[in-house]
Symmetry: C2
Subunit: 123 residues, 2 copies
DNA sequence: TAGAAACCTGACGTTGACGTCAGAGATAGC
DNA sequence: GCTATCTCTGACGTCAACGTCAGGTTTCTA
C-alpha cells in the first residue's frame, strides 16, 4: 500500500511515517519512481511503534528492541534493557493510578461542593 | 524552607521549581532580600504537579484545575474538563497495560529463544 | 490527455519542560 | 571578616516528534 493509505489506516500522519523511516523504525519498498510501498504488516508495526512512544520509550531504544520483536531473539543486554523498560511501564501505570485517584477525589469533592455550596476543607 | 531544600525533598530541579512559579503553579513567599520561602505543603503541591505532568496534562490545564484542588470547588466547565482528563488517564492506563503485555511477550519469547537457540516464528 | 490528488526530498519552524551560563547579591560556617 | 555555597534574574540552548512550506514528479480519474 502507499503512504497515504497506511497513514489513514493507522491514524498517523504521513510526516510521522516518513520520520519513522528516517529513524530506521519502519522500512519500505520503493516503486520504480521512488514511492514508498508498504506491506500489510506495516500497520501492526506502526501501532507497535506508537505504543512504545506512548510508553515514553525513545526512538533509539525502540530501534534497539525492534529487531528482536521481529526475530524473537535478543541478546542479554537488550533483554536487560527490555526488562528495564518493562518495569518503567509498570511504574508509570502505578503513578497514573495514583493520579486517577487524586482526580477522582477532586471531582467528587468539587461536585459535592458545587451542589451543596459547601467547599471541602483544604488538604 | 528555601528552594534548594524543596528541590532536594521533591527530587525536582531548582530550575523546574522556578519554572512552576513562572507558570503560576507554585507560589512562594519572599524573604526581605528576595529569596523564595516555601511552606511545608509545597512538597505535596510539587508532587501533585509532577503527577499531573506525568499524566500528560499541560501546564495551562493544571493551572486551571489547581485552584479547585485547593478550594475543593469547581465550576461546571472546569469539572467537565476534569472528567475529560480523567478519562484520558484511564485510556493511558489501558494502553500502557497493552504495551506491558507486548513487552512481556517479547521478553518471554526472546528469553526462550536465547536459551533454546530457536527463534519464535515472526508474527 | 488534462488536471486534480497524492507523492517526493529538503529544510526550516514549533512546542513544552526544562538545562545551562553569566553576572551579581545573600547566607552560613569558621 | 572571609569564603564557600546558595540564591537571584535574565536570556539563550536543547531535544524529540513531528508540522509546514516550497518546488517538483507521479498516479489516478474523467
Amino acid at each position: 500500500m502507499r503512504i497515504g493509505e497506511l497513514a489513514e489506516r493507522t491514524s498517523v500522519s504521513v510526516r510521522a511515517l516518513r520520520y519513522y523511516e528516517e529513524q530506521g523504525l519502519l522500512a519500505a519498498e520503493r516503486s520504480g519512481s521512488g514511492q514508498r510501498r508498504y506491506a500489510e504488516n506495516a500497520v501492526g508495526r506502526v501501532r507497535l511503534i506508537q505504543q512504545l512512544y506512548a510508553a515514553g520509550i525513545s526512538s533509539t531504544s525502540i530501534l534497539e528492541m525492534l529487531p528482536c520483536v521481529v526475530t524473537g531473539v535478543a541478546a542479554p543486554e537488550v533483554l536487560a534493557k527490555l526488562r528495564g523498560h518493562r518495569s518503567s511501564v509498570v511504574k508509570q501505570i502505578e503513578e497514573l493510578q495514583e493520579t486517577l485517584q487524586q482526580l477522582d477525589a477532586v471531582i467528587a469533592g468539587a461536585t459535592k461542593a458545587y451542589t451543596t455550596g459547601v467547599p471541602c476543607p483544604p488538604s
